[in-house]
């Protein structure tokens, strides 16, 4: 009947932010899906846990729009893995997404700071 597996998502990702996180993670080196998820978790100190059900669709979508490219490699553990790398187009998108994100943060903190002042007054 009802599926009772807990569905944890400590901080919900805003729609579209997952793309940015993936692109950012791939900036220095190609990586496979599991590695990307682990890297995001590690660099956010476990605050951001990427759901597999969101990660792979996002990777495949980015691949389709040619922001990333993929190839099959054999890992150090003799495991066949699909490794994604950033394309030139992906780099441009990363820059765009970053600046958009920064504008959003700026706007958000402006609003939130204003709200606090009002409360204080």
């Amino acid at each position: 009947m009802l599926d009772r597996t807990p569905y944890q998502n400590p901080i919900e990702l805003l729609q579209g932010t997952l793309d940015l996180l993936i692109l950012q993670t791939l900036r220095w080196a190609p990586q496979h899906g599991y590695g990307i998820a682990a890297a995001i978790r590690a660099s956010s100190r476990d605050a951001l846990q990427v759901d597999t059900g969101s990660l792979y669709p996002a990777l495949h979508r980015l691949e389709r729009e040619k922001s990333v490219a993929s190839e099959w490699k054999v890992s150090e553990n003799k495991q066949r893995v699909k490794v994604y790398r950033l394309t030139a187009h992906g780099r441009r998108r990363l820059t765009e997404e970053r600046s958009r994100w920064e504008r959003l943060i700026e706007a958000m903190s402006g609003v939130l700071a204003g709200g606090e002042r009002e409360q204080e007054a």
Partner: protein, 879 residues
Amino acid sequence: MKKPGRLFGRNRRERELDDEIASHLAMAERDRIDAGERPESARAAAEREIGNIAIVKEVTREQWGGAWLEQLGRDARYGLRLLRRSPGFTAVAVAALALGIGANAAIFSVVDGVLLRPLPFPEPDRIVAVEPLSTQSVRVPLSASYPDFFDWKAQSHSFTAMASRRGIGMTMTGGSEAAHLAGQLVSSDFFTVLQTAPALGRAFVAADDRPGARVVILSHELWQTRFGSDPGILGRSITLEGRPHTVVGVMPRGFQFPLDERNAEFWTSLAMDTEGEKPWTSNRGLTAMNVIARLRPGVSQESAQAEMNAIAANLARQYPDDDRYRAEARVIPELRRAVGNVRTPLLVLLGAVGCVLLIACANVANLLLARATTRHRELAIRAAIGAGRRRVARQLMTESLILSLLGGAAGLGLALFGTRALLRLASSNIPRLGQVGLDARVFAFTLGISLLTAVLFGVAPAMRLSRTDLTESLKEGGRGSEGGVSHNRFRAALVVAETAIAAVLLAGAGLLIASLRHLEGVHPGFSPRDVVTFDTSLPETAYPEDKQSRFYDDLVSSVRARGGVRSAAAVFPLPLGDSHVGITFTIEGKPVPKSDEPAAAFRQVTPEYFTTMVIPILSGRDFTQRDEKSAPPVVIVNRALAARYFPGENALGKRIHPGIARDGESVTREIVGIVGDVKHRALDEEDSPEFYVPHRQLSIADMTVVARVDGDPKILQRDARAIVASMDRDVPVFHVRTLDEYLVASVAQPRFNALLLSLFAGVALVLTAVGLYGVLAYAVSLRTREIVIRMALGARQSDILRMVVRRGLVLALSGVGIGLLVALLVTRLLRSMLFQVAPTDPLTFAGAGLLLAAVALAASWFPAHRATRFNPMEALRGE
């Protein structure tokens, strides 16, 4: 067809996706082991972390994009996988849809074959029937007379051709045994109106209409069965009614006209009706003809109608004696005329199956919503990865489409059997039933309603579910009870709607059943039990008047002499049979203008007819063998005639003058007996005036023998042919039946309607019960915790029971209330099909409501009972 390369490409992509997820799992597992977890639990933990792998793959696949068709294919495959995974749901939904769609396909095949399909002639829309309308009181269509028909034809300009026709039976001799053939006596333009030429030979020409012409065109079937498809048949002479007729043509296979009478085996010209001292063709008062015509191109039915009304009004002024109350002539499409009687019942049935389909749709929508709550997580993930509402809705609609197409396919299978069963059940007086079958049009219709059905039951759930709020669902940990409650409200509305529709159907079916019961309770005025009937027809050439009555006297005595025959007589026409004769009469000493002469049903009978039929002789006497030509002319009238025309008087001894005359002779007859009323044409008619004359005083060539027997009627039925053959080998015996069969046939149509409507109402009832059960069971499962807590706090089982049942009854009774209100407005459509029952009969409505309420009570009982059996520990642990 997809290119192999594409197919291969997709397979590779599928494999790569599998590998990618597998490697993800493997890495996750290894990391956990590295971190110190035990290998057995590491795998499970990794899998749990990923969640539902099938859904992960599915939503990933969706990112691949591709052509619209490819996406649809993917949706369809995914949908099929889902349906396979819940076979119970799929089976119930497909079964409900198959019932609804199958019933619609079956009824549509009948409606299409009988009502909709155009006549099988060139430009069939232009073929019209022209009928005089009675302008005396009620506007009913009448038969036409030859002189009127000739005047119409000469004076009208709206038609390219106009022809008369009348049904006729003729005896063919010369073969191994005499055969009675059904045919049509038509004017020479008949085939011009239909624009259909014989397959062999020629159509009739004007010369064939002149006295003395004896020509005949055979039906393809008659040509095959009686003449072995002889290609040299043209010009051959065959003997009809003792006279040689030249075969001038053979119609193409399948040609039939008209559609609402017995299939014609031959067509002959109207020469016969132009002969004799007082020919039919010059008797304006003798009305027995149907008229067909072909509208001239560019002339509308309305303008033809206006012209015909003007002509009829003129004739009424010119010939007031005969045409005073025939001052209008109706022009209607021939197809419409031929199917006029079955149109309303068939459309009512089509409406009823439409309702059944609506109920099925509501049920499936209900099931979809119930199932959807368990799919909340999947839908939430889809939303999370950015699948828009539209995308989710499309996936859901694809699933609905698959369901409805499966239902449609199964329904078509049902329709195959359903149509066959319908054809067996249907009364033979539905025209064109032979053409009914599952063909391309029915397939197209079925596909069409399957698609429509998917929209009906799929759109609401798709809209509601695609709106699913991601945050809410995830917060609820996938339980989806919030959505569940609001869905449940919507589902409750669906159940109320279902119940309402079922109530309308039940009320309708109840009315038809009540009506049928009244009809079957009608006493026909005679006793139909144990009476064998058969028809014979004497060729007039070999049997002049005096020989006719002698033949029937002899025949009746031979039948009477048979073992097991209690009494026997002969009559024409048989009540509730195929023919009806109405004759005008005048009452001695009470003159009226000719146009206002009353008419009454007319029968020619041998003595002992009343005894055999068990029609009471209320006063006076029966005819005897002494009532012959040389004796004083006598007549027996029924109670209705005596009461209407001799109110407060004793009708016995009064004299009336029937308008029937042979060879110019006209007689005034003394009433010697008064008998009980009988139904002439149908059980639902009012008792009306009728009179009988003895066959020795007015003989007739065709009569029906009636014999009341002890024991098995089959013995006499088997012997009838031999008895007649021993008297004259050239006299055919046909329509060997029992009186009961005529009675059954006369209620066949109402019985068919009542049976089908009840069947559909029954299906509606079951579907509604299932729907109600589903909603309540689901509501109970949602409220498990509440119920358990209530019980823990001391609520008794009966309280819980009452709580759930009350909810069921509230839903059902709202539906019943709405349904019966709608029925008040809708059942008036049934008015023409009802007998002695008002379309808003309170008893029937109450019965329908009670039945539905009782079924609803039963459907509510089971979920309620289950609620009282919750084990508190288990229920709470389950939470």
